[in-house]
């Protein structure tokens, strides 16, 4: 395979499928890079809100990184950040008015956090680190992968918080009338605790698999 000039120096060439897949798990924006935390914690009190927020963010990410990737050779390096922000803000405005038109209830649930997609560091981060250096198809794949990873993380949080905090899943009652809801989970502290819990679980699993691998290598060496 001929070496393309679009790869960033020092980074080994990666397969096209990997550009998409890395966002889902290995470089998951929420669980690994801790980017875009504000909406992750704020709107995940129900499954529906989480999914809506994830999709809205994915749309803005996909559209703005595609446009930035197309324009990347025309944008002067010195003013790239303001240009990125204006492009992102335009798509956020489109999303805000669209959600208001589709479902007023959803619009009121998500509140100011739709407008706040504009300051989501995930989008700015992907625009700066990937879209401004890569051709359109790769930038689109990367945006889809990162968006899917972000939506997946929001779903993980929203599911746990809604099941524990309201005893339901996507509005469907799970435990019957005798369930005593764990109200703290849908309040602000619940967001911090559940995300902390997920991170603990992943870190524990990673350490465990690392140790197993090391033990297996030591056994093979004997």
């Amino acid at each position: 395979m001929p070496k393309q000039d679009t790869f960033t120096p020092g980074e080994p060439p990666v397969l096209e499928a990997d550009v998409f897949l890395k966002g889902l798990w290995r470089e998951n924006p929420v669980f690994v890079s801790l980017l875009g935390m504000c909406p992750v914690l704020a709107v995940t009190n129900t499954v529906m809100n989480s999914l809506a927020m994830g999709l809205a963010t994915t749309f803005v990410l996909f559209m703005s990184t595609s446009l930035i990737s197309l324009l990347r050779s025309f944008i002067p390096k010195q003013v790239r950040i303001p240009v990125f922000i204006v492009i992102i803000a335009t798509f956020v405005t489109i999303v805000e008015y669209s959600i208001q038109a589709i479902s007023l209830e959803l619009y009121e649930n998500l509140g100011a956090f739709i407008a706040l997609i504009v300051v989501n560091c995930l989008i700015m981060g992907r625009a700066e680190a990937f879209a401004s250096k890569n051709p359109l198809p790769r930038a689109m794949l990367d945006a889809l992968g990162m968006g899917a990873g972000f939506t997946f993380a929001l779903f993980c949080l929203g599911a746990v918080r809604e099941i524990l905090g309201s005893g339901s899943f996507a509005g469907v009652d799970l435990f019957g009338p005798n369930f005593q809801p764990w109200a703290i989970m849908i309040l602000p502290p619940g967001g911090f605790l559940v995300l902390g819990g997920w991170l603990l679980l992943f870190a524990w699993a990673r350490e465990r698999s690392d140790r197993k691998k090391a033990e297996a290598e030591a056994a093979a060496g004997d």
Partner: protein, 193 residues
């Protein structure tokens, strides 16, 4: 027009609905800069200053946009003002203390994407605050952010000496502590009502 008294606005922004711990705004710098007290304090003051500038400007911009009947330009106009204010702070800190400038590093330009500031401007607009209320809300929000940052940095400095399992170190433990801190701030609910 919003009938809330200035005392209520101040208490609401700084304690009851603390931007970081109750409204989840500005989490990135909250997790990023709170490891040491000596960077947390100047970061807090920089944010207070940017909040003030952004609050005053957003109020003026909102009046102009209402006059021209163009509310769809609000997000773009606000973010442009915030970016300029951050640039100003950056130049000032670089001139005032190059050491501090290096210590804050990437988190200084990232104040632009600090949702606490954008959120503060948007909330003030949504609640139809007048000029004095917006100013008070901006100060309260900045103070609340600084308070949360300083509390967190104190806890994390102590935590350096504590014996915790290796996999819990870092982000996971910080988030759980933030959750407990947030529970403590729920105790302020109803204050100033």
């Amino acid at each position: 027009m919003n009938p809330d008294s200035l005392t209520y606005v101040l208490l609401d922004a700084s304690l009851v609905n603390n931007l970081v711990l109750a409204s989840f705004l500005g989490i990135c710098p909250f997790l990023g800069v709170s490891a040491k007290n000596e960077t947390a304090v100047p970061m807090g003051f920089a944010v207070i200053f940017v909040m003030l500038v952004a609050g005053v400007c957003s109020y003026a911009i909102n009046q102009i946009l209402i006059y021209f009947d163009a509310p769809y330009l609000r997000i773009i106009a606000y973010i442009a003002v915030i970016a300029s204010a951050v640039q100003l702070v950056e130049m000032f800190i670089k001139w005032f203390s190059p050491t501090l400038f290096r210590a804050l590093g990437i988190f200084l330009p990232l104040i632009t994407t600090n949702c606490a500031i954008m959120g503060m401007a948007l909330f003030a607009t949504a609640r139809e605050y007048n000029f004095m209320q917006t100013l008070t809300y901006a100060i309260g929000g900045g103070v609340g952010f600084t308070l949360a940052l300083i509390l967190m940095s104190g806890l994390r400095e102590q935590l350096e000496l504590a014996d915790v399992p290796s996999f819990a170190r870092g982000a996971a433990l910080t988030l759980i502590i933030a959750g407990i801190l947030s529970m403590a701030f729920m105790g302020f609910a109803g204050l100033g009502g």
